[in-house]
C-alpha cells in the first residue's frame, strides 16, 4: 500500500483516464487479432489519420468534424483489410506483423508529406479543444475528456460484451477466434466476420483519435505511435490470446504509466518510459504466459 501513499487522487484519476484510452486501443487490436491472428502495428496510424481529419476539419462544427473522423478511420480500416490483411490471411503471424509495421511507416510518411506542405510539422486541431477543460470534483481536477474516455471505454466494453455474447455475429466472431477453419466449415462467412471485426476496431480507433486529439491538439505524423507501442506491449503482457486479458493488459499498462508518472520525482519523469518498460520485463520474468493468463501457458503456440 505504500505506493498509494505517494500517489494522490489527482494522479489516480489521470491514470484511470490513460488506462481507459489504452484499453480501447487494446480492444481494437485484440478484436482483429482474434479473427485474423494478426497484430496490427498500423493501428496507431489509423488513430493518426483520424486526428489529422479532426485537424483539417477544425473549421467545421464539432459534430461534423467528429463524424468525418469516424468516416475516414473506418474507410481506412476497411481499405487496409482489403489491400493488406486479406492477401496475408494464410501467412505466419510474424510476416503479418512485419507487413503492418511497413504499412505503419508508409502511412506515417504519407502523413509527413501531406503535413509539411505548409512548411511546418504538426497541425492544430482546435475545434475539439473545449472538451479539455477541467471540472473540479472534491478537490480533484478532472478534465472533461477524462470522463469522456472512461465513459466511452465502459460503454464500448459493455456493448461489445453484449454483442459478443448475445448476437449471432458475436457468436460467429467468438467461434472464428477459437478455431477459424472449423468455424468456416460450420457455415461462418469469413469475409463478413473479418469485415465486422475490422469495422469495430476502426470505430474504436476513431474514438481514441478524438480523445487523444482533445488531450494533445497538435497532430504530427508520429501521433499515437508511442501509444501504440505501449499498448502492444501491454496487450502481450496481459495475454494476447484472449480479448479480455488483452484489454486488461492495455488498461494495466496505461494505469501503471499514470501512477509511475505521478510517483516519480519531477526531475526523474524523463525516465518514465524506462520505468514502465522495466516493469514490463519484470512481469514477463514472473509470468511469461501473460499477467492475466490462467495457469502456465505452453511454450509452443498451437502445435
Amino acid at each position: 500500500m505504500n505506493v498509494l501513499a505517494v500517489v494522490d487522487a489527482q494522479t489516480l484519476v489521470d491514470a484511470v483516464g490513460l488506462g481507459a484510452v489504452y484499453a480501447l486501443m487494446a480492444v481494437g487490436i485484440g478484436l482483429v487479432f482474434g479473427v485474423l491472428r494478426l497484430v496490427n502495428f498500423a493501428y496507431g496510424q489509423l488513430v493518426m489519420a483520424g486526428a489529422y481529419t479532426l485537424a483539417f476539419t477544425s473549421t467545421w462544427p464539432v459534430a461534423g468534424s467528429i463524424a468525418a473522423c469516424f468516416a475516414v478511420v473506418i474507410a481506412l480500416s476497411l481499405l487496409m483489410e482489403r489491400a493488406v490483411f486479406r492477401p496475408l490471411r494464410t501467412s505466419s503471424p510474424a510476416v503479418m506483423l512485419v507487413t503492418t509495421f511497413a504499412v505503419a511507416f508508409l502511412l506515417q510518411s504519407v502523413a509527413l508529406i501531406v503535413d509539411v506542405r505548409d512548411d511546418t510539422i504538426g497541425e492544430p486541431a482546435s475545434s475539439v479543444a473545449p472538451l479539455n477543460q477541467a471540472i473540479s470534483l472534491a478537490g480533484v481536477d478532472v478534465r472533461k475528456v477524462t470522463l469522456v474516455a472512461v465513459g466511452v471505454a465502459i460503454v464500448a466494453l459493455g456493448l461489445l460484451a453484449l454483442l459478443l455474447g448475445r448476437t449471432t455475429i458475436g457468436l460467429q466472431m467468438r467461434a472464428a477466434a477459437a478455431d477459424f477453419r472449423t468455424a468456416r466449415l460450420l457455415g461462418v462467412r469469413a469475409d463478413r466476420v473479418i469485415a465486422f471485426a475490422v469495422v469495430l476496431s476502426g470505430i474504436l480507433a476513431a474514438a481514441v483519435a478524438v480523445i487523444l486529439t482533445v488531450q494533445n491538439p497538435l497532430v504530427s505524423p508520429d501521433f499515437a505511435l508511442k501509444d501504440t507501442i505501449v499498448v502492444l506491449v501491454g496487450v502481450v503482457v496481459g495475454g494476447i490470446d484472449r480479448l479480455w486479458t488483452a484489454t486488461l493488459g492495455g488498461f494495466a499498462i496505461g494505469f501503471a504509466t499514470g501512477v509511475i508518472n505521478g510517483a516519480l520525482p519531477t526531475e526523474q519523469t524523463v525516465f518514465l518510459p524506462s520505468a514502465v518498460f522495466a516493469l514490463v520485463i519484470l512481469v514477463l520474468i514472473l509470468r511469461p504466459a501473460g499477467l492475466f493468463a490462467r495457469g502456465r501457458g505452453a511454450l509452443v503456440e498451437r502445435v
Binding site: 497484430v39 493488406v84 492477401p87 496475408l88 501467412s91 503471424p93 510474424a94 510476416v95 506483423l97 512485419v98 507487413t99 509495421f101 511497413a102 504499412v103 511507416f105 508508409l106 506515417q108 510518411s109 504519407v110 509527413l112 508529406i113 509539411v116 505524423p221 505511435l225 507501442i229 502492444l232 506491449v233 496487450v235 502481450v236 503482457v237 494476447i240 524523463v270 525516465f271 518514465l272 518510459p273 524506462s274 518498460f277 522495466a278 514490463v280 520485463i281 514477463l284 520474468i285 511469461p288 501473460g290 501457458g297 505452453a298 511454450l299 509452443v300 503456440e301 502445435v303
Partner: protein, 332 residues
C-alpha cells in the same frame, strides 16, 4: 566434394558482393563514397539482426538497441580527451577520463552489445514467438530512453560529435566481411543447426531434446555482439550521431532490408541490405533534388514501406526465396 564446394559458394557469394561494393567505394568521388559505406555498414547491421531473427524465426524489434549502445559506447570512448571534458562534462569519471583507439572501441562496442543482449534475453527469450517479438520493443524503448536522457553515459538529447571518422572503405568492407563470416560459421555450427531446427518445428525440436530457450538466448547474445560491433562501425562512419538515428526508423529500414532479401538466408540478408540501401540512397538524393524536381521529404520511406509490404504480400520469402546462394538450379 560437391557439398564442400556448395558451402564455399554460400560464403564466397556474399563476401564477393561485399568486396565489390567496397571496391567501388574507393573509385567514386568523396561525396558519393558515403552511400557505399552506408551500404556496407547496413550489411553488417542486417546480418547481425539475421543471426537471431533469421535463424530463430522469432521477430525482434529490439536489435537496433544493441546497435545503439555499440554506437554510443564506441563514440563516447573515442572522443579525444582534450575535448571530452568540455563537450561531455557529466560523464561518469571512468568514461570521461579514458579514450581508446578506434579498433579497441569496436571490440568494446561488441562486448557491451553482447552483455546487454544476454541480460535482456534471459527473460524475453522465455516468451513464445509473437509475444517475444513485441516484447523486444520494451528493450528498444528503454535503451533509447536511457541514452537520450542519462547524461552520465552519453551526450543525452544533444548530438555526439568529434568521433574520429575511421570507418573508410577498407574498414567498412572488412567489418561487414567479419560479421558475415561469424554469421556463416554460426549457422553451420551445431548450435546454429539446433536453433534452425526449433525454427522449422518447435514441438519436434523440443521432443528430441533441443532447449528452445537456451538456443534462442545464444543466438540473441551473438546477435547482440555483432549488432554492437556494427554500431561501432556506424558511429565511426558518421562522426556524429544522435539517439534518434538508432531508433525506430533504423529498425524499420533494417527490417525492410532483411525481409526484402529473404528472412531465412544469409545471402538474403546481404542482398536485401545492398538492394534496399541502394534504393534508399537514390531516393535520398532525389529528395534533395539531384534528379530534376524535388521529391517531397518522406517519399523515401513511402517507397521503401510500399516495397516492403509488396514483397511480403507477393513473395513472403523475399528476393532470394530464403535460400542460400547455390550454383545448381533447384527444382521449383
Amino acid at each position: 566434394m560437391t557439398r564442400r564446394l556448395g558451402s564455399t559458394v554460400q560464403l564466397l557469394g556474399p563476401a564477393a558482393a561485399i568486396a565489390a561494393v567496397g571496391f567501388v567505394a574507393t573509385l567514386v568521388s568523396r561525396a558519393n563514397e558515403i552511400y557505399f559505406l552506408n551500404a556496407l555498414v547496413s550489411v553488417a547491421i542486417v546480418v547481425a539482426i539475421y543471426v537471431f531473427v533469421g535463424n530463430s524465426g522469432v521477430l525482434s524489434f529490439g536489435q537496433i538497441s544493441f546497435v545503439a549502445v555499440g554506437a554510443f559506447a564506441a563514440g563516447v570512448l573515442t572522443v579525444p580527451l582534450e575535448s571530452k571534458v568540455g563537450v561531455l562534462p557529466d560523464l561518469f569519471p571512468f568514461l570521461r577520463d579514458h579514450t581508446v583507439g578506434s579498433a579497441t572501441s569496436l571490440a568494446l562496442a561488441a562486448a557491451v552489445g553482447g552483455v546487454l543482449a544476454l541480460v535482456v534475453g534471459l527473460p524475453l527469450m522465455r516468451l513464445s514467438g509473437l509475444a517475444a517479438g513485441i516484447a523486444t520493443f520494451a528493450v528498444l524503448e528503454i535503451v533509447h530512453n536511457l541514452l537520450r536522457e542519462w547524461t552520465k553515459i552519453g551526450p543525452g538529447a544533444t548530438t555526439l560529435s568529434l568521433v574520429p571518422e575511421t570507418t573508410g572503405a577498407l574498414q567498412a568492407t572488412l567489418g561487414a566481411l567479419l560479421v558475415v563470416v561469424v554469421a556463416f560459421a554460426y549457422q553451420r555450427s551445431r548450435l546454429g543447426r539446433l536453433l534452425r531446427a526449433t525454427r522449422e518445428d518447435p514441438a519436434a525440436a523440443q521432443a528430441v531434446g533441443v532447449g528452445i530457450h537456451a538456443q534462442r538466448l545464444w543466438a540473441f547474445t551473438l546477435s547482440g555482439v555483432l549488432c554492437g560491433f556494427a554500431g561501432g562501425l556506424y558511429v565511426h562512419m558518421l562522426g556524429s550521431i544522435t539517439t534518434e538515428q538508432v531508433y525506430l526508423e533504423l529498425t524499420f529500414i533494417t527490417l525492410a532490408m532483411l525481409v526484402v532479401g529473404g528472412l531465412t538466408s544469409l545471402w538474403g540478408a546481404v542482398l536485401g541490405a545492398l538492394a534496399v540501401s541502394g534504393l534508399d540512397s537514390v531516393l535520398g538524393k532525389a529528395e534533395e533534388g539531384s534528379f530534376g524536381p524535388d521529391l517531397p521529404t518522406g517519399s523515401r520511406l513511402v517507397v521503401v514501406g510500399a516495397l516492403m509490404a509488396l514483397v511480403l504480400i507477393l513473395r513472403p520469402s523475399g528476393l532470394t526465396g530464403g535460400r542460400e546462394l547455390s550454383l545448381r538450379r533447384r527444382p521449383a
